[in-house]
């Protein structure tokens, strides 16, 4: 019982308290100050930009994740382990470096900087840069959920569909997709949470242009650095609510569809 007490006390102080302080600080000067902080035009445009960036990067990573999982879980080829390692690579790269690499490619002094300037295309300090950095950061999420699951499911059902005369896409939409749907949703959920909350990578490529290239996490930073604490924490409450919703849906998916999400370890212990 002592152990339970120690563990729950740790979780409360270390994890729940930071969450509570976000809301306490946001409402420190009352509801009216909170609402007026949320209602400002910069906040609304930051929300819109955050949604836009996620709406582009998440679907792209879904398509990639499904394609990569199909190739890895259904076929044997040389360099498969290496491919898996490369998919995981963005997780062990500092977010700042994930932003930096695109500055080196597309920034004014970058490889394509001169060409882009000639053709009047802006990537760095503009929305395309934010999207690229976000794609880099969130690339592994969907693939990582799907690969072990599809490997454990095996290829029998899909082969049966083919033998019975199903076309490639017919097999995909009628057999593969229904089998992986909950794991796919799970991956999308995690990918989206990270895409909307990413800070380091987008901070490097954003240029912090108010109303144009500031996503919600960047808006939090700018307000905080301007000593507008109520404003910073007010925007932070929106992101905290996103995190709570993510956790709730995640717990629901695990509870309801746990065995359709996790791969069954072959052979067991």
């Amino acid at each position: 019982m002592l152990l339970v007490l120690a563990a729950t006390a740790f979780l409360t102080i270390f994890l729940a308290l930071p969450l509570a302080v976000v809301f306490a600080e946001a409402f420190r000067q009352g509801l009216r100050a909170y609402l007026s902080a949320i209602g400002q035009r910069e906040v609304l445009s930051a929300i819109r930009l955050t949604l836009l960036v996620a709406a582009i990067s998440v679907p792209l990573n879904v398509v990639f994740g499904v394609a990569a999982a199909w190739a890895i879980a259904r076929f044997e080829f040389r360099g498969k382990a290496l491919l898996g390692a490369f998919i995981d690579l963005p997780f062990s790269v500092s977010p700042v470096i994930s932003g930096l690499v695109y500055v080196l490619l597309f920034g004014a002094q970058g490889w394509f900087g001169h060409w882009l300037e000639l053709h009047d295309v802006k990537i760095i300090f503009a929305v395309p840069g934010l999207v690229l950095a976000t794609i880099f950061i969130t690339l592994p999420f969907v693939a990582r959920e799907l690969i072990p699951l599809m490997q454990s499911q095996g290829r029998d059902e899909e082969e049966a569909a083919r033998v019975l005369g199903a076309g490639g896409w017919q097999m995909f939409f009628r057999v593969t997709l229904p089998n992986i749907r909950w794991a796919l949703l799970y991956g999308v959920l995690l990918c989206n949470a990270r895409a909307m909350g990413e800070f380091g990578a987008v901070s490097v490529v954003s240029g912090h242009i108010r109303g144009l290239t500031t996503t919600m996490p960047l808006e939090v930073e700018m307000r905080y650095n301007e000593y507008d604490y109520v404003g910073a924490f007010a925007v932070a409450t929106l992101l905290a609510l996103l995190a709570l919703a993510t956790l709730a849906i995640k717990a629901l998916l695990e509870w309801r569809y746990g065995d359709e999400i996790a791969a069954h370890a072959p052979g067991g212990h």
């Binding site: 729950t8 083919r162 990413e198 939090v220 905290a240 993510t246 995640k250």
Partner: protein
């Protein structure tokens, strides 16, 4: 050789490789290319700068310390969540993932508000002369926060599948609970603990968002390496930023490879125990 029944190998692999090449590999090649531009002398000059060394030491040393702290608390929390039934267990279990879900900037300002000298906890700690925010302990704290779920989530499935017969055998032979834990259970967990340690370490070493708010960012004292990269970029020192980025990447990979080797070795050792 059996003819392939399943379609789409070329399409899916080709698409995945092209996407990965454009999004991940090409940019990393650009990084290495730009970094090589400053040459060996430039690299040595960069690495011998006391400020760079201090930042790298804080990022990697701090991440090692934070990952070690996470192994201890992560083991405690995972053990309690798997082995005990108590009210609110599901809620606490879901809470473990909070650092994954909470954007780092939010975590950063929240931890700062808590541990700043006038914060909820900071005020109280100051009476004991403990300063966390705006000092190196704040950096470690933020690193522990972001790395925490990795250890718990790696351990949980392994703890669940642990064979209870071995424990019962140890106890029926007269071992105490503590003895059983240290001499029977812990050795079996070593490879898993190392995986958790490696994941938490990789995350903490590169962490930026949650750290910069609480760190105070005093050069030579509480300035992390990723922040130094950002500062170099702001001074348009692209080559310097790329060089420091490459050093960080190489150091991370070296650590991860080292841990993978240790893990394989301890895995073999754990298997022999079973």
């Amino acid at each position: 050789m059996r003819r392939r029944i399943l379609p789409g190998f070329g399409l899916s692999l080709g698409y995945a490789l092209t996407y990965l090449g454009l999004i991940v590999l090409l940019p990393l090649v650009a990084l290495a290319w730009k970094a090589s531009g400053i040459g060996i002398t430039g690299m040595l000059h960069l690495l011998s700068s006391p400020r760079t060394l201090a930042a790298l030491k804080l990022s990697f040393g701090g991440a090692m310390l934070a990952a070690s702290i996470n192994v201890c608390f992560g083991l405690l929390v995972a053990w309690v969540l798997v082995r005990y039934r108590f009210p609110g267990r599901r809620l606490f279990d879901a809470l473990v993932d909070l650092p994954f879900a909470l954007p780092t900037a939010v975590a950063g300002i929240a931890l700062t508000a808590l541990y700043a000298p006038n914060g909820w906890l900071g005020r109280w700690l100051m009476q004991w002369g403990i300063k966390i925010a705006y000092a190196p302990p704040g950096v470690i704290l933020a690193m522990v926060f972001v790395g925490f779920p990795f250890v718990v989530r790696t351990l949980q499935p392994v703890l669940e599948s642990l064979d209870r017969d071995v424990e019962e055998a140890a106890e029926s032979l007269g071992a105490s609970h503590v003895q059983t834990f240290i001499r029977v259970i812990l050795p079996m967990l070593v490879p898993t603990l190392m995986t958790g340690f490696a994941l938490a370490l990789a995350r903490a070493a590169g962490e930026y968002g949650s750290v910069i708010f609480i760190a105070g960012n005093i050069p030579m004292r509480s300035e992390i390496a990723p922040l130094l990269i950002v500062e170099k970029l702001e001074e348009f020192d692209y080559a310097g930023a790329a060089a420091l980025g490459t050093v960080m990447l190489l150091a991370s990979f070296a650590l991860l490879i080292l841990i993978a080797v240790l893990q394989r070795w301890s895995g073999r050792w754990a298997e022999q125990l079973e």
